[in-house]
């Protein structure tokens, strides 16, 4: 078959692995403040890894789409360094705080503008709101088959073959192309990108198209925001920690063994 055209949707979010002490809630402004650098949502990185593996086998082109109020190309350029061919940023002040249907709508407009594609890969859910909706809704909007929770994705004879995680193990499913697959972390983490390669890429001029709503049909009425009534901090999880000390690991192990026996 011809070389596959793959689109990967990648969201930029505050690092979800940040320690909880770096996260606070502004109740009045209804805002979550994360004191950590932005990253690509981890499951979207898994999706990109799955795409790169297909490209290694069959060739083709990977286009990364990232959407937000303000997207940083320094964060997203990692996708190019890892093996994507093109990056398109969907950026507009109106894209802030949209509910899932509206996000999927904007992505569907961008995908129609790109035109030909065989496979769309998204993470199973984003690491900020963890809704897990956009990918599946996007497939519905485009009228293409969707498969969720992939742990491996292959293209074979013009069909996508997916090992999908199910409660009893895994299920092998297939669908005709084009199709959308949501990818889970069992696929494996995104390949390592050397820092020198990242830095080299940042210095190199590279066309990164930015599309706003006016480039995507300009249908502002179609966009709806999340209706947030209230935002509150989580219940306090802190406990009083008794530190087991000792002059050697053996001494610590001895004390810990007694504790564990008592806890029984």
């Amino acid at each position: 078959m011809k070389e596959p055209q793959i689109i990967v949707c990648a969201k930029q979010i505050p690092d979800p692995e940040a320690p909880f002490s770096n996260v606070s809630v502004n109740v009045e402004k209804k805002e979550v403040i994360v004191d950590a650098p932005d990253v690509i949502s981890p499951y979207d990185e898994n999706a990109l890894e799955a795409a790169i593996r297909i490209k290694e086998e069959l060739g083709g082109k990977i286009t990364v789409l990232s959407m937000g109020r303000k997207v940083s190309d320094t964060v997203l350029r990692k996708t190019i360094a890892a093996g994507a061919d093109a990056l398109i940023l969907l950026e507009d002040p109106l894209f802030q705080g949209l509910e899932s249907n509206s996000v999927a709508y904007v992505l569907s407009c961008a995908i129609k503008k790109i035109g030909a594609y065989d496979l769309i890969l998204t993470g199973r859910q984003a690491g900020d709101w963890d809704s897990g909706q956009v990918g599946l809704i996007l497939a519905e909007m485009l009228g293409i088959p969707s498969i969720s929770l992939a742990r491996s994705v292959k293209i074979n004879d013009g069909r996508v073959v997916v090992e999908k995680t199910v409660p009893v193990g895994y299920e092998v499913v297939e669908a005709g192309l084009p199709a959308l697959v949501t990818v889970s972390n069992e696929v494996g983490e995104l390949r390592y990108v050397a820092r020198s390669k990242m830095l080299g890429l940042l210095r190199r001029p590279m066309p990164i198209p930015k599309w706003g709503l006016k480039d995507l049909g300009n249908n502002a009425e179609r966009l709806k925001k999340v209706q947030l009534m209230e935002l509150s901090p989580p219940t306090d999880m802190r406990r009083e920690c008794f530190l087991i000390e000792g002059s050697s690991p053996e001494e610590q192990a001895d004390k810990l063994a007694s504790v564990l026996k008592e806890l029984r």
Binding site: A18, A104, D130, S146, V161, Y170, P234, A253, A257
Partner: protein, 328 residues
């Protein structure tokens, strides 16, 4: 029509605990709205399952029965439920935040032209407009959002333990047989085979020992396995080995062992975290453990802030010594 509908899920013909919780939630909301709560059973040869669902004081049990609905084929389930909702126009539709729910609910909500909120912890009715107020953790549980959405049915997926399970009553609900208007053409995704794997059920363990990003070698998990064996032998408990997400990302462990927001949420008697820094999305999965023991080289890490006992040590030294002490 203004009734509340919930999706029944079962394993080996027995109603899921999550479904019993949904029934309670649906009945509570129905009481507040002065309406009835009903359930839908989806599948093939579901007579018995429908009967069990009918013993919980619901108004009606819809039995959505079709050969294509055997097993779980998302395309068929979404199509059949779309058909039912268009027939019955429920006001609220509650679905568990389960394997089935996560897949069916977003697609169904889109087809019904409504908005969905996933993974809700609590639900109530806004007395002003009758809309559902949905409480949902965001940023891995670092914040809790209360939100509202337009559209009917008001749709949510609900996290387990959000409600107490419903109890059986003596009167039986009416069972309505419904033959959904679906056919083969609805199946866009073809299932080739299902491969069963040995699946670890961490929620059955008294003690879970988990390793995280701090475990530097895949082989080092053997130390945790040895510790599990020693604890099990000495203490007579069911001890299992789990992990945090980075370990699954490295393909060192299968995802059934992953503790956290997107893995398993557990509450064992004792949780031992080895080399886990305490990212919030992991904490969500184990914070309800009765006692938490943290082992880490970094005294400033978050895991010590939520632990009852902490040992600042290198697991490579501590764990083998601990195994020896337990066995000795």
């Amino acid at each position: 029509m203004s009734e509340i509908l919930l999706l029944v899920e079962a394993k080996d013909g027995i109603l899921d605990k999550k479904t019993l919780e949904l029934i309670r939630g649906a009945k509570d909301l129905a009481r507040d709205l002065g309406t009835g709560a009903s359930a839908v059973v989806v599948g093939h040869e579901t007579a018995q399952l429908a009967e069990s669902a009918a013993s919980f004081g619901l108004e009606k049990v819809y039995r959505l029965e079709h050969p294509l609905l055997e097993g779980f084929k998302p395309d068929a389930w979404v199509g059949a439920l779309e058909w039912l909702c268009k027939q019955t126009a429920p006001r609220i539709f509650l679905i568990s935040h389960s394997f089935v729910g996560k897949e069916v609910a977003p697609r169904l909500a889109y087809r019904l032209n409504t908005e969905l909120t996933t993974d809700c912890l609590a639900l109530k009715i806004d007395p002003n407009d009758g809309l559902l107020i949905r409480t949902k953790p965001i940023y891995g549980g670092n914040a809790v959002a209360a939100l509202k959405c337009e559209g009917l049915p008001q749709m949510v997926t609900v996290r387990k333990n959000a409600f107490e399970p419903a109890e059986q009553v003596t009167t039986l609900s009416d069972i309505l047989d419904m033959a959904p208007g679906i056919d083969e053409s609805i199946l866009k995704v073809k299932s080739l085979k299902t491969v069963p794997e040995e699946v670890v059920e961490l929620d059955k363990a008294n003690v879970v020992i988990s390793g995280g990003r701090g475990i530097v070698d895949k082989e080092d998990f053997e130390m945790l396995t040895a510790l599990a064996a020693a604890m099990s032998k000495t203490l007579g408990n069911v001890v299992m080995v789990g992990c945090s997400r980075p370990v699954v990302d490295r393909c060192w462990m299968s995802s059934d062992r992953q503790v956290g927001l997107t893995g398993t949420i557990i509450a064992p008697d004792t949780y031992v975290a080895v080399g886990i820094s305490g990212a919030i999305q992991h904490l969500v999965g184990m914070i309800r453990s009765k006692k938490i023991v943290a082992i880490n080289t970094d005294p400033g890490c978050n895991m010590f802030k939520v632990a009852d006992y902490g040992v600042v040590a290198d697991y490579k030294d501590l764990i083998p010594a601990l195994v020896k002490k337990l066995e000795g």
